[in-house]
């Protein structure tokens, strides 16, 4: 459904921003090249203008979506405004067919980068890091996190249709992450 030119495969499989740029620079230019570069620059630039380096703005927005999922309803107005901003920043409203294909893979790449952190020692630990989580616990927590920052927040804020594309990318990436993710994701959806 979101098939793209195979020359981009290595670019979308790589999660390290510097290596991605090297791959991107080595690719022959085509019509999509300008858009892919634009997205790259957008994703790894400091939108707050604080001069910070090594930013992954899209990954940060994923985390923000998860935080928004955990918020109570009394700040609904601010939450909805922020969701709109995030949707615009992540280009969820882009209707161009070729752009959407590339965005789908960029979203999956963002999700993959998040999931790459979910195997670390501290992740999902309890009691101030004294009790380390088992591998299975980490995978289950990762499922919950990814669900919250995609389908969960969309459902909670009534944006399921507007964020459909984003949800699909995150779900597909999660299904490839571990065998138990499919069942866990379905369970979370039903709950």
């Amino acid at each position: 459904m979101y098939e793209i030119d195979s020359k981009y495969s290595a670019y979308y499989n790589e999660i390290d921003p510097k290596k991605r740029l090297v791959i991107l620079d080595s690719l022959p230019e085509d019509e999509a090249d300008t858009f892919v570069r634009e997205v790259y620059n957008d994703r790894y630039s400091d939108h707050e203008g604080k001069g910070r380096k090594n930013i992954d703005w899209w990954l940060w927005r994923c985390i923000c979506l998860q935080i928004l999922y955990g918020r109570g309803n009394f700040l609904r107005r601010f939450r909805d405004r922020e969701i709109s901003t995030i949707k615009a920043e992540l280009r969820m409203n882009d209707a161009d067919e070729v752009h959407r294909q590339h965005l789908y893979h960029e979203y999956r790449n963002t999700c993959r980068r998040y999931l790459s952190t979910c195997r670390s020692g501290n992740y999902a630990s309890r009691f101030m890091g004294f009790r380390q989580a088992s591998d299975e616990e980490k995978v289950l927590k990762a499922c919950e996190d990814v669900w919250q920052m995609s389908s969960g927040v969309a459902k909670k804020t009534g944006n399921s249709e507007a964020m459909k594309f984003w949800i699909e990318a995150f779900r597909d990436e999660l299904y490839d992450y571990d065998d138990i993710c499919r069942d866990e994701y379905k369970r979370l959806e039903e709950e």
Partner: protein, 328 residues
Amino acid sequence: MNENKFAAAFKQNAIWLVFIIEIAIFAYFNPKFLGLANIVNISRQVSYYGIASIGMTFVILIAGIDLSIGSIIALVNVVCAYLMMNMGWNMWLAILISIAMAILIGVLNGWMVASIGIPAIIATFASQTIFRGCAYLLSGGLPIPGVVLEHPTFGFFARWSLNRWGIPGDFGLIPICAIIMVICFAVGSFILNKSYFGRYFYAIGGNEEASELSGIRVNKMKYLIYALSGFFAGLAGIVLLSRSGSAQSTAAIGFEFEVITCVVLGGVSVAGGIGRMSGVIAGVLIIGSLKSGMIMMNVSEYTQMVVQGLVLAVAVGIDCFSKKRQSN
């Protein structure tokens, strides 16, 4: 869907229901519990718990802990009183120096946790011992009395109240310390809900490595959070000194556990990344009312300790149980 929303809203605010039930039980057994004098007394009593719990909330949100706040309070008590009484310093300067010292202790905790990599529980336990010892050394183990007698203005922080015209003084309805607590909670709530720093706290508590990759300077934030914890503990120390009127190096022993109880009872997860300031306010009010209610029902001090320990165990137990149920 509506049922789910109702259930979620109920779950989020269940702590307030617990508070109401608790009030109803104490009021049933002792009608004076809801009297104005007791309410004013509770608000005075919970003020320094409330102020200190804000810093602790930030620390627990990043999956850390600060066991040094009781010692910070004792040291702030002793240093502030020492500067005013033994060295004749100006009251405001003494307060500023004491709070700056509390912030520096917080920075030291942040340095041990973030830069050296010592687990928070060990690092802050070491600080607890070091600074309690410093308080004993400075005071020689003896109290420094007469702070409010010699500096009546110092009573402003805990002894003064606002009268019906809003003028502060010795007699009035709304204690100044309760107003300070409300302002601190408003600031804490603003930081958590409306500022980027609040986001960073949740993000670091939820997934530290992802936060680092997304561009947050995690170590710098840890310094800031422990410094904030030190600041709020320092402020709580000033309020306590104003209330007691004399500095004691033995002040606030075990205080950190009561504050942790308030925070965890308020729904802040010991795993980090989850919690709201409104829940912490409820937790503080529950513990304050519980203490006051037990005193009014003539429950012995030892029994009160047992009850408070049980409340902490139940609060952490519920948090762990809900996590375990999720993972099952």
